[in-house]
Structures are given as C-alpha cells and as structure tokens.
Symmetry: none
Subunit: 411 residues, 2 copies
C-alpha cells in the first residue's frame, strides 16, 4: 500500500485480457452497432469538416462539437476557458481517469475552401483527416459504448481540444492538464490523431521555436559604411548554426525557415529577423541544440560588434520563444502501451511505434502515461488535397480498434 502510493504507476492495472474483451458478446453487439452507425459517422465527419477551424479560430466548430457531445449521454458537457469542449462518461469507480482527445483545429487558414468532395470511397477536403476524422471517430465510439452498455472502472473524459497545430502550440491540452478542472484527475491520455491504423505514437518529439530579431543603428550604405550590420550578425549566426552536428538517432533536427528584414538595398538594415525550428526525439539532444543555437547567436552578435563600428549603436539580438513543445516518452513497458499493442494485435494488425509531435507531448512531458493512436486510412495531411477513406469496413475497423483500446485502458 505504501509502495503503491509512492509510485502511482504501480496502481495501473496489469495488461487486461484483451482477447476476452474483443471476443465478448458485448463487443459483438458493439460491432453490429458500429456497422449500422456508418452513415451517421460519414455525415458527421462531413459536417464537421465543412466548419472551418483555423488555428485560434476553432470556436464555431467547437460549439458544433459541443452540441454533438450533448447528445451522447455524457455528464458535465462543457467548454473550458481555452476553448476545449468535453464531457465525462462516468465509470464504476476505482480507475484512474482516462482522457480521450481529438483536436478541433486544422492547419488551414481562414478562407480555405473546406467543401468535401467524394471520389469513390474517399472524402477529400482540407482537414478531413487531420483531425476531423478523429473527432467523428470519438462520437462513434461513445455511441457504440452506450449501445452495447459497456461500463468501465475509470471515468472517461472525451475532449475535442483546440490548438494542436502549428502556432497553437498544444495550447488546448496544455490548459487541460495544467490548469483545467480535471488537471489533477487525468491519469492517462489517448489522443486519436495518428495516421494509419495500428500506428502508435509513444514518444513526443519536442520542439523549440524562436524568432530572433537582430537590431542595430542602421544607416546609409555608403555614408555610414563601416557601421555594424544586423544582417551580417544574423548571417554569421545562420552559417555557424548550419554547421552544428546533430544525431540521426535520436532524431534531432533544426531549420531556419524564414528570414526577413531591411529597408532598401542602399540602407544598412536597422532590423532583420529569422524564424528557427529545432526538434528532437530526445529532450537532452533538444536542450543541446537549443543551447548551441543561443550561444551561436550571442557570439555572432559579439563578433559583429567587434568587426565594425558601434559608434551609432550596437547590434543586439533578442531571441523570442514562439513555440515550445516539451518532449516526453511513454516507456515500452507502460501498461497503457502494452494494452494498446495487444488490442492492435488482437485485430490482426502489427503495431508500429513512433515519435511525433502531438497532443500527447504534454502528458508525456508530465509523466502521465499517454499515446496517440491512428484514426485510419488517409493521406496528404496539411496539404489542400488531403483525403480520408470511408469504405465501410475500414471505418468499422477504425472505430472498433479505438473502442477496444479505450475499453481496455479504462478497465
């Protein structure tokens, strides 16, 4: 008992008998329901896809999703201050609360046409897969649980969350786990946001993003020649940064994605800036490349201030964090991972384990067992020709696998 309190992971159930769950009469009943629920799944997927949800502008879709959640017999259906919508499916008690997430936002800016086209069994539209299919899947799961009258030990919090993509910077899940009313209750997280069925994201690729402004006095290119030039400091920083060595494994990357600045060809710029992205599967490697980058910026600035005149002012650089996704990892031996893998295998699929940057980054970074599972067949995410396949058998499998994972993890 004492040990269990000191190490909450020990309280987690051992890997449950997945075969028993999937083979049960109740699960067969759920499967029959899911097949009959197909048209509704497709209808809801289209309806949600066609409500634009650009980063920071998810509200319309969030309200529509909230209204859908309200029809699913959940309690405490609500929208939190960050914009996440959610509801609880009460358990019988005794299990650690499981949060199931799908994200509301897409990468596509306002004004993008989100009209869904159908080609055979494919639906095509920006965002139709990532992650609108996840949202629709979640509704089907809840309906199947209700239809087959499943009970779980754990309370399950179903969440349509904001801010997963880009500059959203995981703001929805950050709020949920750091500030929201369930922050101390959520002990396990499953995000439905992966690509292929069977893919399990067990590690959160961490990222750090900066916008670095280099500023100086500026001046006339000829008359003030010899003054410090912030473009030279930035160029030196980029050139040195490009030489930094990072490991191929754990995969670690960096990028200078945007450069901008200056007034005219014959003016020494008074300001230039660059946007930089660094990522790693390893927190230690991310911290290393981050520290190297900041040191390089500092030395490049110092060198420029030494190389040219500072009589009108010095070069200064001001690295501002514009994105930070903590890294984290759910160990291979974690019950949530072993359970999920067992379910995937029970459906005759081969689990594949990967690292990515998803909502699971946040719980993983906090030591909360978490993973991201696949939402089923699709492709071209983040591109205008994004698609998802809604052949009935494939949809049914997507719902069944996710349902079985949720049931097995919630106990």
């Amino acid at each position: 008992m004492f040990l269990a309190m000191a190490c909450p992971a020990a309280q987690a159930p051992a890997v449950p008998d997945v075969a028993r769950i999937v083979g049960s009469a109740q699960f067969r009943e759920a499967k029959a329901f899911i097949r009959g629920d197909h048209e509704r799944f497709v209808r809801e997927l289209i309806a949600l896809t066609e409500i634009p949800a650009p980063p920071f502008k998810e509200e319309r879709r969030a309200r529509a999703y909230l209204a859908m959640l309200e029809q699913h017999g959940l309690t405490d259906v609500e929208r939190d201050e960050e914009g996440n919508v959610m509801g609880v499916r009460r358990g019988t008690g005794g299990g650690p609360m499981l949060a199931v997430l799908a994200h509301l936002d897409t990468v596509f800016p306002e004004g993008t046409s989100v009209k869904v086209r159908r080609e055979g069994t494919r639906l095509l539209a920006p965002g139709v897969g990532d992650d609108t299919r996840g949202l629709a899947l979640m509704l089907s799961i809840i309906r199947a649980m209700n239809a087959a009258t499943f009970t779980t030990r754990a309370d399950i919090l179903f969440v349509g969350n904001v801010g997963e993509e880009g500059e959203g910077d995981l703001r929805g899940v950050k709020y949920l786990l750091r500030k929201g009313k369930y922050k101390d209750r959520i002990k396990q997280v499953i995000a439905i946001d992966g690509g292929e069925q069977g893919s399990i994201t067990r590690g959160g690729v961490g990222s750090k993003r900066y916008r670095v402004a280099f500023k100086g006095p500026g001046g006339h290119s000829y008359g003030a020649f010899g003054l410090v030039n912030p473009a030279y400091a930035m160029a030196a920083a980029i050139a040195r940064f490009s030489d930094v060595q990072v490991p191929a494994s754990p995969k670690t990357t960096f990028n200078v994605g945007v450069v901008t600045g200056g007034t005219s060809v014959n003016s020494i710029p008074s300001a230039v800036s660059m946007d930089v992205d660094m990522r790693s599967e390893s927190c230690a490697e991310l911290a290393k490349v981050d520290a190297a980058f900041l040191a390089i910026v500092k030395s490049a600035v110092a060198d420029e201030n030494r190389a040219r005149s500072t009589r009108e002012g010095r070069i200064e650089a001001d690295p501002t964090v514009i994105g930070e996704r903590p890294c984290g990892e759910t160990p291979m031996e974690a019950p949530i991972l072993k359970t999920t893998a067992a379910v995937v295998q029970a459906f005759g699929l081969k689990p594949s384990y990967g690292f990515s940057s998803t909502d699971s980054n946040i719980p993983m970074s906090m030591g909360i067992p978490a993973l991201t599972i696949g939402r089923g067949p699709g492709g071209r995410s983040h591109s205008p020709d994004e698609w998802t396949d809604v052949a009935p058998a494939g949809v049914a499998q997507s719902v069944e696998v996710a349902l079985a994972i949720v049931l097995a993890v919630a106990g």
Copy 2:
C-alpha cells in the same frame, strides 16, 4: 570657334564675380525675403515629408510638388513620362540650360510612418532630410529669385525627379538626360542632395547592385531534415562577403540591405533572396569587389550543395543586376565647380569635395558638368530616426548658398 564647338566646356563662362552677386542690393533683398519665407519653408517641408514617396511610388508626392511648382511663375510646368515634375524659369538667353534637381523619392517602403516630429529646432521623420529638404529648398530658391527679380542668362529647369534612391537606379535623371524633351538642351546640372552645407559632390561614386535569389527544393523541417537549405547558402555568402577588405581611399563600400524568404518556421525555404549594394569612387575598385562578391556567392552555393543532401534538388543562386550607376567625375578646374566653391567661400564656409552616388552620376558619366550640393544640417539619412535642423539661421543659409550657386552658374 572650331575649338569651342569641339569642346563645349570652353563655352562655359569663366568663374563669375561671386562677391559681386552675393554683395549686391538685389541679393540683400533676396536674403530679407528668405528670412520672411522661413515659416512657409518649414510648412512645405513638413507637408511634402508627410506624403509618402517610396521608390516607384512617388506619384502622390510628385503631383503635390507639381502643384507647388505651378505657383512659382515657371513656364512649361509638367510631369514627364518617367514621373519627373519640372518647370522652366526662362533666362535672358545665351546661357547653357541649367537643370536644378531635388529628388522626390525616399528609401522608405510603403506603410512607413512619415509623421514629422519636432524636437527643438529639429524635425524628425523618415525622408525629412533626404531629399525632401532639397525639394523645399528649391521652392524657396525660386521664390527668392522671383521676389528679388533676379534674371539669369541661362534657362533654369527646376526638377523634382523620381528614382534617385535604391532600385530607382537614377531612373528619373536617366530619362531626363537620355530621353526627355530637354535632353539635348541641358548643359549643366546641380543636384541639391548633399548633406552638410558646403559639401560639394564632384564625383559620381559608381555602384553595382544585385538581387540574388537562392533557390532549393524546400521541404518539411523535420521530415525532410538534411536537405540543402538556401538560407544557409545565403548566410554563408553574406558572412564571407562581410569579411571582404575594401580600401578606405578610394572609398569603396558594400552592403547587404534586404534579406527575405521562406514560408514558415517549420519549412525548409524553397527560396530566399538578398539585395546587395557595392560602391566605389574608383571604377577599378568597384570591379574588384564585384568580382569578389560573385565568387563568394558561387562558393557558398557549392559548399551548401556539398554540406547537405541534394537528393530532392540542388541550391542555385541567380544574381540579377538591379542597379548600375556609372562612375564619373567633374574635374576640379571645371567652371561649375570653381564657381560653386567660390560661392561657398563667399559665405565663409570651407568647400569640401567628395564623391557620392547621386543624380549627378548620370550627367558626369555623359561629360555634362554637374555636381551635387548640400541641403544643410541633418543626419541619420536612410534610418527611421532621420532628422534635419530647421533653426531659422541655418535654413536661411541653406537657401542663400544654394540660391547664389544657382545664380552664379546660370550666369
């Protein structure tokens, strides 16, 4: 006669009696007028400064200046096809036409706040000095000539011209002297565009300007990490270019003035570019730094193609000439120069001779006697905190010196 035809400079009048002009009762009358005209000068300077005139977008200011010229008793007040605005003050005949220029354009891009601030005797705003003070000065000169009923032998063409700065590439004066209706008549040029009073630009600093686009395949910052990045090639080029040694005399300079490119922080850019300016008082030194620059771009591109993967495509750089200002020089013994120096000395100032890149480059390169004179006290040209001093005594001196130069040169 034959000699005079073969060498038109010999037709120029000998240095006139400057002391007589400056000491005349008529000039005293002009001085009194100029003092009384101070408020109008300041008002017009502010009004013109607050009409944005970015390169290639001088039209609004040009039309306003045209309207001002129309109130000054000139003939043939018009706007030419290039956008220059001008009017003629008829002479008594016999003198070679003198063109007096001030340029309409500033270096500042659209959207720059051009609201004028006042601090003591200083006016602060982008472009308030360069060359808006020149434009305002020209109006005061014409008014003073009219008030004191000065006549000159030569016709004087007063021009507010476009395209002096940056990418404008002297397009206004090029048109005026190579294509405009006065191209065969203009035999002397005075540009009001220098800095301090008494400074005489007698040499046209040559310049070469490039926009260099660096292009590559682009890709996802994480997924495609390891591909060549055009921002790295450009940064290496800039960093190496910043190390190039140029002589202090003949003055030779270089500048990277604008950098831009990239789609998003998490994309490897498919294209970035930079705008580069090189200048020299010496055509040979200009050719040297130009060759060094092109070699550096080439080596930086080759190094990036070696440093990272080119499996999706190689980096290529494409230096495009966006400006080329011919060098030229008005000899120390040229009458226009000796006359101007004599006027400066008559005001108790010490003439200083310099080389610069101004509208005078074009006449100088064509063998037309030309120089650029100061517009008076100010500083920080081409920077957001540009200022000009409008203490009444200083303004009066600016107008008087310029007026006396125009009178002496126009004969």
